[in-house]
Structures are given as C-alpha cells and as structure tokens.
C-alpha cells in the first residue's frame, strides 16, 4: 500500500477516472436541470469505462459506452424532452424535515462500514481463477464470450426472455388508451 511502487501512467489513469466518476456523480445529484443531470451521468459512465479499460475489461468498456452512454442516457434525454420536465426542481426546498441529514448519516454509516469491512479482510479474498483465467490468451472478448455461452448459458437465455418482457411491457405502458371507434365514444 506504499506509493511509488505503481507506475505513473496507471496512477494517472486511475486519477482521471476517479475525477470523472466523482464529478459526474456529484453533478447528477446536485444540479437542478434534469438535462444537465443526464449529461453529468454521461461523465460518470465515461469515467467507469476508463476504469474498465484500465482493468483490462475491454469489451465491457465498449458496451458501457455503447449501451449506457449511447442508449440509456439518450432514452433519459428523450423522455425528459418528451415530457417537457426540463424546468428546475426546487432543490433547496425540503418537505421532510431532516431528510438530508438522516440520508447523509445513513449513507456515511453504510459506506464507512463497507470500507472498514473490506480493509479488515484484506480487500479481496476468495479462490482465484475458479471459472476461467482472465489472461489465458485469445483476448478479453473471446474469453468473455466463451464464459457467457458456456458457463452462463442459462442466464444468457433468461436475459433474452427478460428483454422481450421489458419491450412488451414498455409498449403496453406507453400505449395511449383509445376510445373504441364508432361505439358510444
């Protein structure tokens, strides 16, 4: 845990990703305009993608940019503009007295306890390389694909069903009820 044992580029990459992640996250919860919050969310997602690349999760970094920043945030922005809710929320108005203080205390206890527990147990414990080694040659995409289509095949098929259900549910939710044409309407 002593510094100077780590190469300067990896420290710089970590600092960059940490800056992007924390600045974006604080922006999401602090800005008043929902459009700005969505843009801050992109900042955080990009920082997480940088952290993924730094830890040799190349495929997940690409998916992070394409799916999260490309699809999910665009969906957020689309709904914000579709509903026209880009007016500002009164962020300093507090309907429940002491809500912020209780939330801050609860979050501090949770995060502090989490970090204390991890530090006590030497951060990472457990058996190494149970499924497949990370660097067995052939690249990250091939290894991840092999794991998803062999070990996790059932879960993969279940996500296919989940996505179909989500699409059908979204269409049903967003459908406008039309009065039956012609009959007593």
């Amino acid at each position: 845990m002593i510094a100077a044992a780590y190469s300067t580029p990896s420290v710089l990459v970590f600092a960059t990703s940490a800056l992007l992640i924390l600045a974006g996250a604080i922006g999401v919860i602090a800005v008043k305009n929902p459009v700005h919050a969505a843009l801050c969310l992109i900042l955080t997602l990009f920082g997480v993608a940088v952290a993924f690349v730094a830890q040799s999760a190349d495929f997940l970094a690409a998916v992070q940019i394409i799916v999260y920043a490309g699809a999910i945030v665009v969906l957020f922005l689309f709904v914000i503009m579709f509903l026209g809710v880009d007016r500002r929320e009164h962020i300093h108005f507090e309907p429940l007295v002491g809500q912020r203080a209780f939330a801050a205390v609860g979050v501090a206890i949770t995060v502090g306890g989490l970090i204390a527990l991890m530090a006590k147990s030497h951060w990472v414990s457990g058996a190494t390389s149970v499924t497949t080694k990370l660097s067995s040659g052939g690249g990250n995409v091939r290894e991840l694909g092999t794991a998803v289509f062999t070990t996790y095949l059932f879960a993969f098929e279940a996500t296919a069903a989940l996505l179909i259900i989500a699409v059908v549910g979204a269409v049903l939710l967003a459908r406008r009820e039309r009065p039956p044409s012609g009959e007593e309407a």
């Binding site: 996250a25 999401v28 830890q55 999260y68 957020f76 509903l83 309907p95 190494t128 497949t132 998803v148």
Partner: protein, 101 residues
C-alpha cells in the same frame, strides 16, 4: 504495476454512496432513476475489480448481465414515468400519495 484493487473499491464505494444519497433526497423520478444507474455502475466497477484481482472472467460476465438488467429496468421505469406523467403532469414522487392512509 497497476494500482491496487483497494483504490478502485474505495472509489466504487464512494460512487455508491453518492448514488444512494441522491436516491434518498431527490424527488424527481427521473433523477432517482439516474441515481440507481450510479449505484449499478458502482457495483459493476467492484465486479470488474474483483475479476481483475482474482484473475477470473466470471466477474465480467456478471457485469454483462447487470447491464442487460439495467437496460430493461430503465425501459420499464421510464415507461411508468411517462404513464404517471400523463395522469398527474408531474414526475415528483411526493405527489403520488393515493395509497397514504
């Protein structure tokens, strides 16, 4: 040598905390969804860190599934927000109080 896993784990814990605080304090349903995304990303970051440290691909495979579930969750959640907005002309969760005793 890469930076130790502890740095990334602390960063992810901080990101999770910020997301949880936002979820507990903001009242716009859209912002609350964004905070849930922050928390999911924090968990993804820990999974990737454990995957790197334990030299095991399973962590990354699980992150893949978390991303799929997050996409489905956002789709359904925003559908609910849109249909609530049609009725109430607001996305504030404080105004949804019909079930209050």
């Amino acid at each position: 040598m890469n930076v130790p896993a502890a740095w990334y784990l602390i960063l992810a814990a901080g990101l999770f905390g910020i997301g949880a605080f936002g979820l507990l304090t903001r009242r716009s349903a859209l912002i609350m969804f964004m905070c849930i995304e922050l928390m999911l990303n924090a968990v993804n970051l820990t999974f990737v860190t454990f995957s790197r440290t334990l030299n095991d691909i399973s962590g990354q495979a699980i992150v893949f599934f978390v991303m799929v579930v997050a996409a489905a969750e956002v789709t359904i959640g925003l559908g609910i927000v849109v249909s609530v907005f049609r009725r109430r002309s607001s996305t504030s969760v404080d105004e949804l109080s019909e079930l209050k005793g």
